[in-house]
């Protein structure tokens, strides 16, 4: 589904990624873990076109998408739930969700049944149904996170990219978020998950990549990474 080769990207003169290779297969859940500042968010931002990569190749289903503006990449089926949630605070929850389906509602992507999908989101996140007429800016952090995920899903994406869905949430909500991710995986959604909660991410993922200072240092099946002593020591807090 997604094949990233030698991706170099950064902000202005500051280069953050120095040649990253990632592959996500159809229906796979792949996680990208790493410490603060390793370049996880930058990777997702380059993949979705929020920043233009300096060089490298990004292929989605065999089509080169590197350097396209974000709205075009979204229309090709990449949904990115960005760091910090980025819901539209002045719009009601329902409108936020509809905007997730913007390319479908305006003919840039196959329409399908958006009303049924909206209903599905309200079933997946019952809290959003209760609050659907409320402005997104008035939601709690956890609710906003759910909204950001549901909004991304409304695209009916080929690839769903989640950036730190657990950030700033209480332990109970983190559990809820990961339960949702597991459910999406059962539904065969292809996902690229960026997480600081490496243990939880490797628990649900099929495959994992460890990003260190802008390069992939280790990769492998998630179960194997969980047992890798170096990964354990650095990211799973086992060495203590």
């Amino acid at each position: 589904m997604l094949k990233v080769e030698n991706l170099v990207a950064g902000y202005g003169k500051v280069q953050v990624l120095h040649g990253v290779d990632i592959e996500v297969g159809d229906g796979q859940l792949v996680t990208l873990i790493g410490s603060n500042g390793a370049g996880k968010t930058t990777t997702l931002r380059a993949l979705s076109g929020m920043i233009a990569p300096t060089s490298g190749s990004i292929k989605l289903g065999g089509v080169e998408i590197s350097g396209l503006p974000s709205h075009k990449i979204t229309r090709l089926g990449v949904a990115h739930s960005p760091e910090g949630r980025r819901v539209f605070p002045a719009l009601p929850v329902g409108d936020n969700l509809l905007l997730g389906a913007f390319p479908r509602l305006t003919g840039a992507r196959p329409k399908g049944d958006t009303a049924a999908d909206l209903e599905k989101m309200y079933e997946l996140f019952p809290r959003l149904r209760e609050r659907r007429a409320q402005l997104a800016g008035t939601l709690s952090g956890g609710e906003q996170q759910m909204l950001a995920m549901a909004r991304a899903l409304m695209l009916n994406p080929e690839l769903l990219m989640l950036d730190e869905p657990s950030m700033g949430l209480s332990p109970r909500l983190v559990e809820e978020v990961f339960a949702t991710i597991a459910r999406l995986k059962e539904g065969k959604t292809t996902m690229l998950l960026v997480e600081q909660f490496a243990a939880a991410a490797l628990e649900v993922a099929d495959f994992g990549y460890v990003l260190e200072n802008g390069v992939i240092s280790t990769s492998g099946p998630a179960a194997k990474l969980r047992d890798d002593p170096a990964v354990k020591a650095a990211y799973l807090g086992a060495a203590r």
Binding site: M50, F88, L99, F102
Partner: protein, 299 residues
């Protein structure tokens, strides 16, 4: 008492014009954090294009009121196009060059170009614009109101309501609000935010052009008619807050009425002073505008 009522009533229609132009500033500021300093010229061009169109129609034996109504779509379409031109050739290039104040210079420069063009096409003289409604004032308990003044208030409100309904109800309108809320996130929704910004400029000039043909029958039309209106509406946009639709209407009304009161009770020479004083006062006491939300960002 009657004089006071009269001053307030005539202030209201002028104030609505300020309000609707200020509303245009708001449209582009919300999506792009830039605005068209040639907004007054957009108004003037709209009025002059309207004048040529309505005279053409009247020349073909169409009565003034239907001619005015037939002219409106022409003027609105022209406004849309003119705004798109300003965005494409002025603002976009300046923003692309990563120049902080470039868009200010670019829009002012385009405004000057438009004004000179208008002087060459329509001449330097102020021209009379045929009034679609009877010019005889109606009297309400001694307070005299021109029918066109009522049309200004109704027309301006209708236009603003139409834009608001579009923003709330249609998916494209929601895309505009989303772009105003968070441009990067809007891009992630598959919204072409550059197009949205171009559209908001088009819409902004369209409101100005519409305001132009609304005031033209009560004032006069000419290449210089826009400058002062544009500037005062800018003051209104600042007073009312660049983020509040209610704010610009109230701000416009306040300015329109205060100007009229000053002109009568103090001196017509000082008519323009209170607006600017109000502007200074608001800037020093409540910089976000009377109705503006403070620019505090929740992290």
């Amino acid at each position: 008492m009657q004089i006071l009522a009269q001053l307030i009533v005539s202030g209201i229609s002028v104030g609505m014009v300020y309000g609707v132009i200020a509303f245009g500033y708001q449209l582009t500021f919300s999506t792009s954090k830039t605005l068209n300093f040639g907004q007054g010229e957009a108004l003037m061009l709209g009025a002059l294009v309207g004048l040529t169109t309505i005279n053409f129609l009247i020349g073909h034996a169409i009565a003034t009121l239907p001619a005015f109504l037939l002219m409106l779509p022409v003027v609105l379409a022209f406004g849309l196009l003119q705004g798109a031109v300003v965005e494409f050739f002025g603002v976009r290039q300046a923003v692309k060059a990563k120049s902080d104040a470039g868009w200010i210079m670019a829009t002012i420069a385009l405004g000057v170009v438009f004004k000179n063009m208008a002087e060459n096409i329509w001449g330097h003289d102020a021209l009379r614009f045929p009034s679609p409604l009877p010019e005889a004032a109606l009297s309400f308990g001694g307070v005299r109101v021109q029918p066109m003044e009522i049309a200004i208030v109704v027309g301006a409100l209708l236009l603003m309501v139409a834009v608001e309904v579009f923003n709330r109800k249609s998916i494209y309108g929601k895309a505009v609000v989303a772009t105003a809320n968070d441009r990067d996130a809007a891009g992630l929704m598959g919204i072409d935010t550059r197009l949205v910004i171009m559209f908001s400029y088009a819409l902004s000039s369209m409101t100005a052009a519409f305001a132009g043909v609304l005031v033209a029958p009560v004032t006069l039309t000419g290449a210089t008619m826009g400058a002062v209106l544009g500037l005062k509406a800018f003051a209104v946009a600042i007073i009312g807050g660049l983020s509040s639709g209610v704010g610009v209407v109230v701000g416009g009304l306040i300015l329109g009425v205060v100007e009229n009161l000053t002109g009568f009770y103090i001196s017509t020479g000082y008519k323009d002073v209170p607006g600017l004083l109000l502007l200074l006062l608001v800037l020093s006491l409540k910089p976000a505008g009377l109705f503006g939300a403070a620019a505090i960002k929740k992290v």
